[in-house]
């Protein structure tokens, strides 16, 4: 069956691509099946408390989804589709509440985060050496197993070189062959030039980070070098120019936060959250930071003193952050606005 062993994140292709209905069973089914290696390693990590939390841990995911927020207007803003005249419905209060509830559920589906995986190891495995064949051919032969029901990760793709060596295909060759025989919508055979570094700069200047990330998810596998490179460059650019709000309420926000927290670059994001009066999000961020870096000083202090809210931010600010001045200013401004609104 196509679902068996298919990675659970196969279900996440959205606007840029629709999954082939035949090949992939229902989203719920896929989501419940673990991605083989990760599920196993996750279980090990949960049992041993010493190792650091994974991207897919429930606690981590809940923190990240809280920070992502749920702005319905942004999630359901018009995508490029066929022009249809708008439909108007007359509803009672109860029906409206029901419709909003359904919309929130659908939005949560759309906001499921694409996976964060480490880069895949290059394949170089020689199956047979037949040097007698050297010189007979000038071309390599690529043999793909097109059995419909094998998962793509387990498909046999071998290459017979002109030197007579029979080897397993590299990841790039594998991706190309699978796209030739089992094409998926939104994925091109040759990656579009938007993913080159010079063109990425142009895209970032136009604030189209989300579109680039959606295209990247459609085009590349999550553990390929290109996917990781594009994502990291996008996150770096957002951090440099403090454009965090572009990704808020999209499915890429969790990945960005995970990237920043792992590299301890959380200051800009923290300032942005305080300036927008999202103190809960800020506390979530700091909790996540403490989960991932339990040895840092602020984590130890927070555990000893059991601080919450603004105090937690103050503790974090004093010990871990590099832009102490900015965060203090932002906090002061926030508390002044609180005081003035309380006074009113």
């Amino acid at each position: 069956m196509a679902g068996l062993g298919a990675p659970w994140w196969r279900s996440l292709w959205r606007r840029a691509a629709a999954p082939l209905a035949l090949q992939r069973p229902g989203r719920a089914l896929l989501w419940s099946r673990g991605y083989g290696q990760d599920a196993g390693s996750e279980a090990d990590k949960k049992e041993s408390d010493v190792t650091k939390p994974c991207f897919m841990d429930e606690l981590v995911q809940s923190l990240l989804s809280k920070m992502t927020g749920l702005d319905l207007q942004k999630v359901f803003r018009p995508i490029k589709q066929e022009l249809k005249p708008p439909t108007y419905k007359l509803m009672t209060e109860k029906q409206l509440a029901e419709a909003t509830r359904k919309a929130i559920e659908e939005a949560k589906e759309l906001l499921k985060m694409p996976p964060v995986l480490s880069e895949r190891e290059p394949i170089d495995d020689v199956l047979a050496e037949d040097r007698i064949l050297e010189g007979t051919e000038t071309v390599k032969y690529v043999f793909t197993d097109i059995t419909y029901s094998t998962p793509h990760r387990e498909r046999f793709i071998v290459v017979r070189e002109p030197s007579g060596v029979l080897r397993k295909a590299t990841w790039e060759e594998r991706d190309r062959m699978i796209q030739v025989y089992f094409s998926r919508e939104g994925r091109k055979l040759v990656p579009p030039p938007i993913f080159k570094d010079e063109n990425l700069k142009t895209v970032f200047r136009e604030d189209r980070h989300e579109d680039v990330l959606n295209l990247c998810i459609a085009q590349f596998e999550p553990d390929s070098a290109n996917y990781i490179r594009v994502h990291h460059q996008t996150y770096e650019d957002i951090d440099k120019h403090a454009k965090y709000d572009l990704l808020r309420s999209t499915r890429h926000f969790g990945g960005m936060v995970w990237y920043l927290v792992n590299r301890k670059k959380t200051d800009g994001l923290l300032i942005d959250m305080i300036q927008r009066n999202l103190i809960d999000d800020a506390t979530c961020l700091i909790n996540l930071y403490h989960m991932l870096h339990p040895d840092c000083q602020s984590a130890k202090e927070a555990k000893e003193e059991e601080v919450y809210g603004v105090d937690l931010i103050k503790v974090f600010m004093k010990t871990e952050s590099k832009k102490v001045g900015y965060i203090e200013l932002a906090l002061q401004a926030y508390q002044e606005t609180l005081a003035s609104s309380a006074a009113l």
């Binding site: 037949d130 000038t138 197993d145 059995t147 071998v158 029979l166």
Partner: protein, 130 residues
């Protein structure tokens, strides 16, 4: 599950199923489908099942693409299908079958011919120098 292969084979007396190449494509652009068909059928006519494809012209990455539905090939061979020589050679190159003896023989013949040519070329050179 309905086992149809038995019925397909039972009524075909004196003939057999073959896994062979069926030519398609356009002028100056061949393209082969690897196909399980009755032996006596025309090369390109109705087949039982398409079981792969082979593109003899190399692509922009200098590769010849061959797709093989291994599961179905195994099934047809299990039902007693014969495999024609070109398909045997392809399967041998892919590693699914052992290398076909003619592949090895042709490789050796080519090597000998090239060695002979090199020898005669060097022989012509040395008297020329002298």
């Amino acid at each position: 599950m309905v086992h149809l292969a038995h019925l397909l084979l039972k009524n075909y007396h004196g003939g057999h199923v073959a896994i062979r190449l069926a030519l398609g494509g356009c002028a100056n652009r061949p393209f082969f489908r690897i196909v399980a068909a009755y032996n006596k059928r025309a090369r390109d006519s109705k087949y039982l099942e398409q079981v792969g494809c082979y593109d003899p012209l190399p692509n922009s990455h200098n590769e010849k693409l061959v797709g093989l539905n291994i599961e179905r090939i195994k099934h047809w061979i299990g039902c007693g299908a014969h495999v024609t020589k070109p398909v045997e050679k392809l399967l041998g190159l892919s590693g699914f079958f052992p290398l076909h003896p003619m592949t090895i023989t042709n490789a050796e013949r080519l090597r000998k011919r090239r060695a002979l040519k090199a020898e005669t070329a060097s022989e012509e050179e040395t008297p020329g120098d002298q």
